[in-house]
């Protein structure tokens, strides 16, 4: 995982979803962190805002469980592509 991406994801989970920092690990699934389908929608929304990108629904369907933070970071990295970098990072 890219440290900046990693850090921004962790910050969102702590600040907006009140997840304890020590539970946030690359292999952790969002579902296991207690984010139900509704919270996942809000989480994806916050991630898209933070990185100023849009993730296609088929890559990160909030209705699906099992998405790990490692997978999420990969999707973000892929979509950032040639962009200068995450907002504020």
């Amino acid at each position: 995982m890219t440290p900046d991406i990693d850090q921004t994801i962790a910050q969102i989970l702590v600040d907006k979803f009140h997840i304890e920092a020590d539970r946030i690990k690359p292999e952790a699934a969002l579902e296991d962190l207690g984010l139900d389908s509704l919270a996942l929608m809000e989480f994806v929304f916050a991630i898209e805002d933070a990185f100023q990108l849009r993730i296609p629904e088929d890559r990160l369907d909030p209705q699906q469980g099992g998405i790990t933070l490692h997978y999420l970071a990969g999707v973000i990295r892929e979509h950032l592509g040639s962009k200068p970098g995450p907002a504020g990072a």
């Binding site: 009140h18 509704l38 809000e42």
Partner: protein, 412 residues
């Protein structure tokens, strides 16, 4: 109903108000006539800048976590806090209750307006997309959803929207459900937080808000109910909750409530959408008295609707005189200090009436020195008035749309 209708006990109270978040702070400021109203400048493109009289709560919505995890509307967060406070004060434990028989009857006039206004600004002003939970934050029943999730209430979970009478109607309908045996316990009350630019601009356009002076220095005393020089009201925000219980349920757990609700009535003017109608008010007060099995002379205090509009106070002055006779009952309007809480008003003002009953002391109508000479009312003014032997009190709520609601509380 008849005089044989059981008294419905008040097991707990809780509130978030411009006068404080504890019952003690609220009561002391009500009795002192200490105003929470300050001036706030409404300055938006397309309208003339104006200083409006507002009674805001010292309340941090960011500190409230909805049990749903959906972002909390400011009013919803106030509702949740008030309801939890009332529940804790009741001493009831959901673990020992049939939760299907615990109801939630709530009122709000413009629930969700605060968040909906902010959402519209996000979309139209900032040209940004809306959060996926916008509907769930702004829906009118968001408060009952969060309260029932938080407390685990599984009985009726209902939201009443009848403008200024919303929470009075909610409380009264819960009384009926408790009397009727449909439920044993009810969490009741209302909330309102709509001190946001578009909502305030809407109220300002209606010309019902009191002037605050050129620099806002007259804001604190801007709302003067029943005064000869009254010019409208101040907008307030907040929430109040009560826990109600049938006498049988209270008895079964070895509790006897000193404060009780004894009467309720609601009706509709069917006359005009915004003009109050003394006839409708007379009928609803008389119906509430019949419901409680009481006569007008039994009532020792009326917390009037008393909005301090010219037309509103004129109609209520006329209806109070018709029901109670000249100077027939002690009356005050506490909107002068906590503002007009719209949908929460009935619940907040019932708390005022219950505290008067509990402490045998009537709150004054603040900022009132020269009553409108056309009224023949016994207005409590200047200072709080001791009322030894007070047994029955009335709280009036008369709404835009024509809905009237009257609650009567009694010592059990």
């Amino acid at each position: 109903m008849s005089s044989t209708a059981p008294l419905i006990g008040v097991a707990g109270l809780g509130l978030i108000s411009p006068l404080g978040d504890t019952l003690d702070a609220f009561q002391s400021r009500i009795l002192a006539g200490a105003s929470a109203v300050t001036a706030w400048q409404l300055d938006l493109p397309g309208i003339d800048p104006v200083l409006l009289p507002l009674a805001r709560c010292d309340f941090d919505v960011e500190a409230v976590r909805n049990p749903s995890r959906v972002p909390a509307d400011r009013g919803t967060a106030m509702a949740l806090n008030a309801a939890v406070s009332a529940w804790q004060a009741s001493g009831l434990d959901m673990g020992g209750l049939d939760t299907e028989r615990v109801g939630l009857y709530w009122g709000s006039g413009m629930a969700g307006a605060h968040s909906f206004d902010a959402s519209c600004h996000t979309l139209y002003g900032e040209h940004k997309r809306l959060r996926p939970t916008t509907v769930l934050t702004t829906m009118p029943n968001a408060a009952v959803a969060e309260i029932s999730l938080k407390l685990g209430l599984r009985g009726p979970s209902l939201t009443y929207a009848c403008a200024c009478a919303s929470s009075a109607v909610a409380i009264g309908e819960a009384v009926r459900a408790l009397r009727g045996g449909w439920i044993d316990v009810a969490v009741v009350g209302g909330h309102e937080s709509m001190l946001s630019p578009a909502v305030l601009a809407s109220w300002q356009a209606m010309r019902v808000l009191a002037p605050t002076g050129p620099e806002g220095h007259l804001a604190a005393s801007a709302c003067r109910p029943f005064s000869a020089d009254r010019h409208g009201f101040a907008m307030g925000e907040g929430a109040a909750a009560l826990v109600l219980e049938t006498p049988a349920h209270a008895q079964a757990r070895g509790v006897r409530h000193r404060l009780a609700l004894s009467g309720y009535a609601t009706n509709s003017d069917a006359r005009h959408i915004s003009q109050p109608d003394a006839g409708g008010q007379i009928r609803v007060m008389q119906a509430a008295l019949r419901d409680a099995g009481l006569q007008a002379k039994d009532i020792g205090y009326v917390n009037a609707h008393g909005t301090a509009t010219l037309a509103g106070d004129r109609a209520e002055g006329e209806s109070l005189k018709a029901v109670f006779g000249d100077h027939g009952v002690a009356i005050s309007s506490t909107k002068a200090v906590h503002g007009h809480l719209l949908g929460a008003g009935g619940a907040v003002e019932l708390v005022v009436a219950l505290q008067a009953l509990q402490n045998e002391c009537l709150p004054p109508t603040a900022h009132l020195s020269q009553p409108d000479p056309s009224f023949a009312l016994d207005l409590v003014m200047g200072a709080a008035r001791p009322a030894p032997g007070l047994r029955h009190v009335m709280s009036n709520s008369f709404a835009f749309g024509g809905t009237n609601a009257v609650l009567i509380a009694s010592l059990a």
